[in-house]
Symmetry: C2
Subunit: 145 residues, 2 copies
């Protein structure tokens, strides 16, 4: 069981941008701070823009910033939007499902309830909560010499 | 977010064997009932044996059967044993983790708590619960002509 790398990087980008709210952030510095390839960050930033989490200010002095208040970005919202699917078992994808016992099977209900409990936990935490250790995060994200 | 196919097939094998508790079951009939390749089922059965969920009776009239009472097999136990890992984010695997903010990051705690809620739900359901629609399951698993 895992989340995609895309979700992982999305959350990290939001934390970086959230920690530096007083200014615009460049893709380059996010890439360097986390030592993640620029290409990955470009894709993540583009998608987070489409999803309404980030705003892209164009131009020579441009950069990215949060499109919403940190308190209005729940971890669950990000995970729900960036995960490509929640196919816990074959039967979670009706188009692909060939499992013979689906009509009488109680597994799907069990796992769907478990998934709800998981997402409820993530919905109880916002980006604002994640940013509380701001000084420590800023320090860890600072450029290395 | 998904579970491995191995976990999916493991749960299905346990349901098949549980539905036919009055006799030994062959790998061939499980494979046919679910239309899953024999090779996959062989691997799953072998692993479920090693994990103490199934018993293998050798010989010409041999087959497989449950090694424990259905009420003593929690869905959570199976998932915990058959999933290769619960690496929700890079930081869940200390050997691979290179994330710069790990010391001050609250994401891991959030996701670990969510995972606990997920597993608690699965621990609240046993194979016995899954077997309750027994007649319907038996019908759906019956050989097709």
């Amino acid at each position: 069981m895992n989340l995609t790398r895309f979700t992982d990087y999305s959350l990290r980008v939001l934390i970086f941008v959230g920690v530096h709210r007083e200014r615009l952030v460049s893709i380059q510095e996010v890439s360097e701070a986390y030592r993640i390839s620029r290409n990955h960050i470009v894709k993540v930033v583009h998608q987070l823009g489409r999803l309404g989490f980030l705003e892209n200010v164009r131009g020579r002095k441009g950069g990215i910033r949060l499109a919403r208040e940190p308190k209005d970005i729940r971890v669950g919202d990000v995970v729900r939007a960036t995960e490509s699917g929640f196919v816990l078992l074959e039967c979670f994808d009706p188009r692909q499902n060939r499992c013979a016992i689906t009509p009488a099977c109680r597994l799907m209900d069990t796992l769907a309830t478990g998934l709800e409990r998981f997402m409820e936990t993530l919905d109880g935490v916002t980006l604002q909560d994640l940013l509380k250790p701001k000084t420590a995060l800023k320090h860890l994200l600072a450029p290395r010499r």
